[in-house]
């Protein structure tokens, strides 16, 4: 008999079928036993006169007749244990909620991820990637894959991992920044979904050593406002793919950095929360753009505001009071790169071959990067980015 998956069950009401999966839970109710089987997509309840003699997580096959009343379940069942489990699992998966301290959850992620609540988080991650890509492919963006092993740091030198690369030293790319700009000079509109690496020396709830960056770059823009409009369209596609009803407003409230009322060269978490609350109260928006960050706080490739050169044509997007996306217009002239690098005391020499992209014709361009795990963390209201990462990497964690 062909195996039926949980997502196909409703098409077989009244018929005898075979399902297979993990023995998720058994509830003994006297003469009746509710045996719940978990497959890769959902739970299937079987009503059995005898409970199987097996530990949770054993692999089982169940044949039974599909009933739809009072709910979709299997009756007249036969249960076979095909792969018995010999020990009690380190985390109990059969309960509605998985109430474990974070370190335990992460230590046993290999098993804990099987729990429906954890699996749902990673299903949302997959949906977010799908929504990101399809929103961009609709608008003729081309996907690229760029090197993760690079000759030098691109986003500043402090938090970069070094690699023994044959007889020399390489670095793990902190972002695909220069590559995506180069490729905007080829395909105009490009995106990449891939790992980036930051040697974060501090333990925080929203930073990891490796995360998935959703990168976009686009050419022939007027300024960063074109990039912000593109970002809004991409986010709509992502929320929709995740089955979320969050509305990205037609006009996202936008505040210039100089109007935020902070004395710092960057926003504090408190500033972000305050701006988020303001956007929600006055505009009913979960989102707020902060534009015009001081040039001093942005990387060398940032384009200044032509009217007020101490400020930049860049932006952050705050979602629910926390930074979610960084982006902006980039420098596009070779001479501007040389000047920007010199002003920061950086040598242009290691970047020479990359800077050829700007030497030989580059239009105004810009882009943004969304942290995939941070997107899901904030969408689902998770308290720690580690909960939105399959196998997180941080100061102390390199396994599982």
């Amino acid at each position: 008999m062909q195996r039926v998956c949980s997502f196909e069950l409703s098409q077989h009401v009244g018929r005898r079928v075979r399902v297979a999966g993990w023995l998720h839970s058994v509830r003994r109710m006297g003469a009746l036993n509710f045996v719940v089987v978990r497959d890769g997509w959902g739970l299937i309840q079987a009503v059995a006169s005898a409970a199987p003699d097996a530990r949770p997580e054993s692999i089982v096959e169940v044949t039974g007749v599909v009933k739809s009343e009072p709910q979709l379940e299997l009756h007249e069942v036969e249960i076979t244990v095909t792969e018995p489990v010999g020990e009690v699992a380190p985390v109990a998966l059969g309960k509605k909620q998985l109430e474990l301290p974070l370190p335990t959850l992460l230590e046993h992620a290999v098993i804990a991820t099987r729990h429906p609540t954890r699996r749902a988080v990673f299903g949302t991650l997959a949906a977010a990637m799908r929504g990101f890509r399809s929103a961009l492919e609709r608008e003729h963006f081309t996907e690229i894959q760029t090197p993760k092993l690079v000759g030098g740091a691109t986003e500043g030198g402090a938090n970069v991992f070094s690699v023994k690369y044959f007889d020399r030293t390489a670095y793990l790319a902190q972002s695909p920044q220069l590559y995506k700009q180069i490729m905007a000079g080829v395909f105009e509109r490009v995106f990449e979904v891939g790992p980036v690496f930051r040697a974060e020396p501090h333990a925080t709830v929203r930073h990891l050593s490796q995360y998935t960056s959703l990168d976009v770059e686009m050419a022939f823009i007027t300024n960063h406002f074109d990039v912000m409009a593109q970002l809004a369209r991409v986010l709509r596609g992502m929320f929709e793919a995740c089955g979320s009803d969050i509305v990205v407003p037609e006009h996202i409230p936008t505040v210039h950095f100089s109007e935020v009322g902070t004395s710092e060269p960057d926003l504090s978490p408190e500033d972000e929360r305050r701006l988020g609350a303001w956007a929600k109260e006055t505009h009913g928006s979960e989102f707020v753009f902060v534009t015009g960050y001081p040039m001093a706080k942005r990387p060398f490739y940032t384009h200044p505001d032509p009217e007020r050169p101490a400020y930049s044509n860049s932006f952050d997007l705050l979602f629910r009071g926390t930074e979610l996306v960084t982006g902006g217009q980039r420098l596009h002239r070779h001479a501007d790169y040389l000047a920007a690098l010199e002003a920061r005391g950086m040598s242009a020499e290691p970047l020479a071959s990359y800077l050829d992209a700007f030497r030989f014709g580059m239009p105004p361009h810009g882009g943004f990067a969304i942290g995939l795990e941070r997107f899901v963390m904030q969408l689902l209201g998770l308290p720690n980015i580690r909960l939105a990462t399959l196998f997180p990497r941080d100061l102390t964690r390199l396994e599982p």
Copy 2:
């Protein structure tokens, strides 16, 4: 006037439009000049009475009236140079073919990739990824992102890169093998598109230090033949997305390793060519499966053939006489892993937390990995995998 892209031009016949792009070439034909503008998707020819005074690759805007006879082109044009190029580019992009020695092409990849022939290769890469994902999403596979920084080598110790990871040593993942198996225990059907890293100490035309691996893993299989059938469906989706008319036969010719007639424990390139020629001649197939590789030549997680345990339930797929895909059934029982590791003199201890996946319920499962760049190399008949990689990494190349 709103800018029109090359892919939209045919919708504007008879109207005056504005296009923008790179000055690709200028042909002076006496009173007429054929000015070709390249945008992110194609070439647009403008017929001008005066050629622009600008070097190739300068950014130009052209307004003109769209004519469709004798071909789609712009007439009555006005050309503005918005970003002039001051120097002659290191590679000449205006010719039909880009005839450069490989080292020159790679050294100047930042510019050379703009050439239509090079760009087409990378468009095919993007299409192959799209086809891969959509074939799998149709069949309820879930996309995953797994760690690239790992505590130990998974595919054998020789060709692994080491990373200074805070105060310890990490390694770059040679494959997502154990992670995708673990995740087959969660979602049953998973895939990943991501970089893998191999410290290849030899310079060959088909190996790189970083390539893009298209990984698939699926649970509840009978044996490797289920995996091979899944692979055939995925390849059909990839060829279709690439606009290729290559036919993946309903029944791909399949040869058991013991019937190949080689005395080696692995196939030589000459064996591969011979088998490819045989499949083409006798079955009209570009593809041939070789199954049952000796266990001694396969990694520790390989499932043996229950009938002939010296051989494995694994396969390679040869495409046009070269290995394209490796896959097979995996061990799924904890005790089998411990025995396999011991038999190879490997310690189970560093793998303990991963092996929990098999300790606590895992069904028979298997999968495969396609090298994205190798797929495109063989599809397009390129002589070197470096030609199918944006910015290749090898023994000597870490830039651009």
